[in-house]
Symmetry: C2
Subunit: 638 residues, 2 copies
């Protein structure tokens, strides 16, 4: 019997309370059966959070009917390892059938995975790496606000993970953005993986939330009336609220109750049967689950998650000439402001959110802030949280752009971007000051590894435009393209390339654009190094050596036709201000080997951590100036 | 005139105070001259932190004479962008000469870099990426305690960066470890890059530090007597202490004072000259600095930073046979406990610290904890802080080991490990549960990108042993080898390989070990997949195809002789449970292309995010079981 959704109710009738209590028993039985059938999982937290799960899924405007819509309430289970408990609660509300979940938990090929995934209706964020859930919640809340939807966001967490610094970052952003529709719930069972919370790492949970400006409410995490009442009251004083839900790990789990061992372990017999019987169940369901696990195929995903498709106008590209020289970061800034203005508060258009970590003067989002003030979100120096927030905001129906120095956007926040990718969040990440093109900030600020970082995931598109014209067009392409897209630009003012200024030129993902033809070899240049490579080609021509020059702006995607054509010249030189072993040159080299294309390849790039210096000096030191490139080519051909 | 070090003084004589005040003027003049000569840098913070710099370098047991020793006080400037101010303070105490610093700030080739680096004496940690300094301080303090040295650690920070979550993590570890010898100082000037702290991101600085259990003391950050007194009192009540130093950004900087613009910008004329004159200086020093910048070579590094060389016994390898089957993570755990016990509290031996983030039962450091209780450091779920702490502890004279799930150790904390590398910290990172060998936790927990992450840096050595015997030997090798070394192991129990059990076998970094000879092709297998590749080779032999099998345990280092030999067979198949584009196979493929070795190569690996499942199922799904590998080889040779 499916439980009714009690959206927004503060007080339960006797019938409602009894139904919830019955479901809590059944859900504990079901979750323990999943864990026992898989012989793996986390029963302790599943049992301690059970009333929290059932209350939140009952209270929220989130049902099997609207779970795949955009404008509704959101529920994030940050302690994703309690998955068996979550699935059991979702069964009670009719999101998924018990006959799927019980046999297929943690089974290979099944959607009922070890850590929760969005392919299960009712799950809004793939979690498992702790500390990210509150950030996701803030992202959902910001998206809903931008979409003018008055929804609530519920974030459930464990207590052991309260120590993750990213949570503090998200707390402050929630307060600064006045998100009183975000309600956090902490399963305060005082036990974590290897012992009690007190033994492992003392943390004054109440004090740290209060210090960041949240309303803190304590309640009995096993009492439905207390939980519903607290949920209904949350946010009424204008602040985001956290409920510290006092619970017992393994509650109602007999010998498992209060024992850290069962944080992450199936109980085995006789505990399994004893617990099921004490909850009024029949332990025989385990045998049935095991039989189905063995003899029936794993169920297909309940839904396919695809990135949100934005409805926006992308306007007309700005044309840059060499009289109106610009930096690529500036061209991004102008383009995003232009598109922002075109769509700002226009009915039927997707909101465009731009996130900032106190760098707008450097990452050039100041103009956007001016023209779209309500869609510019200042987040302070809190990159881990912002990476996740921008991901969740994208998943919940906005064009979500975070412009940031390369080292912070993809090095500092790599795991957050990896989880955005896994979540198919579809956020837009703009990395500025990449490569050696940082100015004199030195090695800690030189993001010479962004191609490698993006290559190390599966779903990201990476755009590295060469000049302001291509940057403008790539920016508009990025804003309109579903999925996770990263745009990487440097700091220097660079020459414009006439081909990209032409109204006929459209940014085409994956295409290497041949800008010069030659038969003695080919240079593939990444982004703004194209201009320099073109100069090298002219110097080489003076020496009687004629080379093709290809501009690569999508280094993760190989333009097979261009590569094959270039290989016919016998010599491929790659040029980039990126780690020489993990960038575009490495990608092309590997492809030459895999396809046995036969051409010789030489990679120019960054071979050690750099020093302070202006870009041109740094490039010269690594042989990436026009003279150095030409010299390398001559030596290579010898 | 160099200032005297006033180590530990609480009260200043008039002469001392006057000397400090004179130095503060001179240091402001010098730092502004550096910024103006470079036409780049951060004068605002340099001026507001100046009395803090001079007080801490005066108070600490850190002098030009002992700056390169291990056992002394440590000073970390976390807001490393205030570098011009730091260098100016170091000039006053005689660490570096003014004639080097003034002309060479942010100059290409110079050690006087944009963000501070350890090559300058008096600088203990390369910073610039905010939020990491307190973690470094905790690491230094733990190392000094382990070495039985009663030193102090001073961490200076800005106020805008107080929002970084990693600081909260480090605060809790400091309290949990009772590090009352850590003294933090916040430059509380209330201005950050793009506006006031209040505008950018409200943060209740006092409350968040108090909530985590620190003693908070407010003082006038421009008053030497208040600063020395506060430094002398800090820690007396047994708690770590933070001084909130009330300052003015750009203090004594005339028009620059209190203006956010000068956070990161040279003032230009007439401001430069006006400020210098108002401080009693002669603006002509700028012309001299510019002349020297143009006409003299950049100074050499003042000192070379090399990783600490540990003095430990590494004992006798444990021998594993197939009767005594083990997992590689278990073999690591036994080896580190064995070496720990051998050296624990033995005079003259380097302390071995093992850090844990609530995962010791999974990462197998429980035995070490038992035998070396004082050297096991429980840090809770706070990976960003721990990554930096373990780095700094290594730099300050310990063997520092952090054992952690792969996704948290190198994905979540990538930027911290990158900065450990830049710092030449020499920490030891043990990644467990790597590749598909995680158990049923699913995609968020599968670290299929660690080879790519390590390859994306420059200094890391990566060891991926194949069996428990090789793991044991690689662990002992890691513990004794200076520099950043990462050991990566899976979760499953695996077969032992007789060759590695032999007393004659020694772990040799960079060597690919040929375990089987064949003329029809070669398989290079990473780590524990070697056993599976050997089975494939036997299956292939039954079909009349004889292949060599190489065990690769150092994927970042190419065994050129082995590769050349293998290429002579014409066919190279690589096998790993890692992202197929960023692992060992990609490295070998690129090398084949670069050296034009002519052999055909095919890479087997992980081609998308995985699912929940036991390792063997997941491997099979990606064709990484013995049958799949054999089949791939046959198709490849067609």
């Amino acid at each position: 019997m499916a439980l009714k959704n009690l959206h927004g109710k503060a007080t339960l009738t006797d019938d409602e309370l009894n139904a919830l209590k019955a479901s809590a028993k059944q859900a504990r039985i079901n979750s323990l059966t999943m864990v026992q059938a898989a012989n793996s999982g986390h029963p302790g937290g599943a049992f301690s959070s059970m009333e929290m799960f059932l209350s939140v899924y009952g209270f929220a405007n989130l049902t099997p009917a609207n779970a795949s819509e955009i404008d509704r309430d959101y529920v994030i289970i940050s302690h994703g390892h309690t998955s068996a408990g979550v699935y059991a609660a979702l069964i009670e509300y009719g999101f998924i059938p018990a006959e799927d979940a019980l046999p297929n938990f943690r089974r290979f090929g099944s959607t009922i995975q070890g850590h929760i995934v969005r392919e299960v209706p009712g799950i809004d964020w793939d979690t498992g790496n702790l500390g990210q859930g509150l950030s996701a919640g803030v992202g959902f809340a910001l998206a809903q606000r931008a979409r003018n939807h008055d929804g609530k966001v519920f974030v459930l967490m464990g207590d052991g993970g309260q120590t993750k610094g990213q949570i503090a970052e998200a707390r402050r952003i929630a307060v600064s953005q006045k998100l009183n529709n975000v309600i956090a719930l902490i399963d305060w069972n005082k036990i974590q993986l290897s012992g009690t919370v007190e033994e492992i790492m003392h943390c004054n949970i109440r004090e740290i939330w209060e210090a960041d400006g949240w309303e803190v409410v304590e309640c009995d995490g096993h009492s439905f009336p207390e939980l519903f009442k607290a949920l209904a009251n949350a946010g009424k004083n204008g602040k985001p609220t956290v409920l510290m839900c006092k619970t017992v790990m393994g509650k109602d789990g007999g010998e498992m109750a209060g024992v850290p061992t069962y944080h992450g372990k199936a109980p085995g017999e006789p505990i399994y049967s004893n617990v099921v019987k004490s909850l009024g169940g029949d332990p025989e369901i385990l045998a049935k689950a095991l039989d189905a696990r063995k003899n029936t195929p794993a169920p297909k995903p309940y839904r396919e998650i695809t990135p949100f498709e934005a409805e926006i106008e992308t306007g007309t590209p700005i044309v840059y000439t060499n009289e109106k020289k610009s930096d690529n970061r500036g061209a991004f800034g102008k383009a995003v402001a232009d598109v922002g203005k075109l769509n700002y508060k226009v009915a039927g258009k997707t909101p465009i959110l731009v996130f900032d970590c106190d760098l707008s003067p450097s990452v050039m989002t100041g103009e956007f802030k001016k023209v779209c003030p309500d869609e510019f979100i200042q987040c302070g120096i809190q990159e881990h949280a912002v990476a996740t927030i921008s991901g969740a905001a994208a998943a919940a129906g906005t064009v979500s752009v975070w412009a940031e120095f390369g080292v912070f956007g993809i090095d500092e926040a790599y795991n957050q971007q990896r989880l955005n990718d896994i979540n198919k969040a579809g956020n837009k990440l703009v990395l500025t000051h990449v490569g050696l093109d940082v100015g004199e900030d030195g090695e800690t600020h030189q993001c010479i590894d962004y191609v490698g970082q993006a290559r190390n995931m599966f779903g990201w598109k990476l755009l590295v435009p060469a000049d302001p014209n291509q940057t403008d067009k790539a920016t508009r392409y990025m804003l309109k393209t579903p999925g996770c897209v990263c745009l990487a630009v440097g700091r220097s003012k660079v020459d414009s390339i006439p081909e990209f200024a032409s109204p006929d030129y459209k940014f085409e993902y994956g295409k290497a654009v041949k800008l010069r033809d030659g038969k003695d070899g080919a240079i593939f240049a990444l982004g703004y190094l194209t201009q320099i490579a073109l100069k090298s080609a002219e110097e080489l021509a003076k020496q009687g050596v004629n080379v093709s020059v290809y501009c690569v702006s999508s280094p993760l995607e190989i333009d097979e036709a261009a590569l094959k054509e270039a290989c016919a010249t016998g010599y491929i030189l790659t040029v980039e201000d990126h780690h020489v072993n993990t960038g575009m040159g490495a990608i092309l080299g590997l492809e030459i080997a895999r396809r046995n294309l036969g051409a010789k390849i030489k990679n120019l790039g960054v071979e050690k951590y750099g020093l302070s210096g202006v870009s041109s000096e740094l490039r010269k030191a690594f042989g990436l100036d026009s003279e150095g490139i030409a010299k390398s080519f001559i030596e290579f051909r010898k």
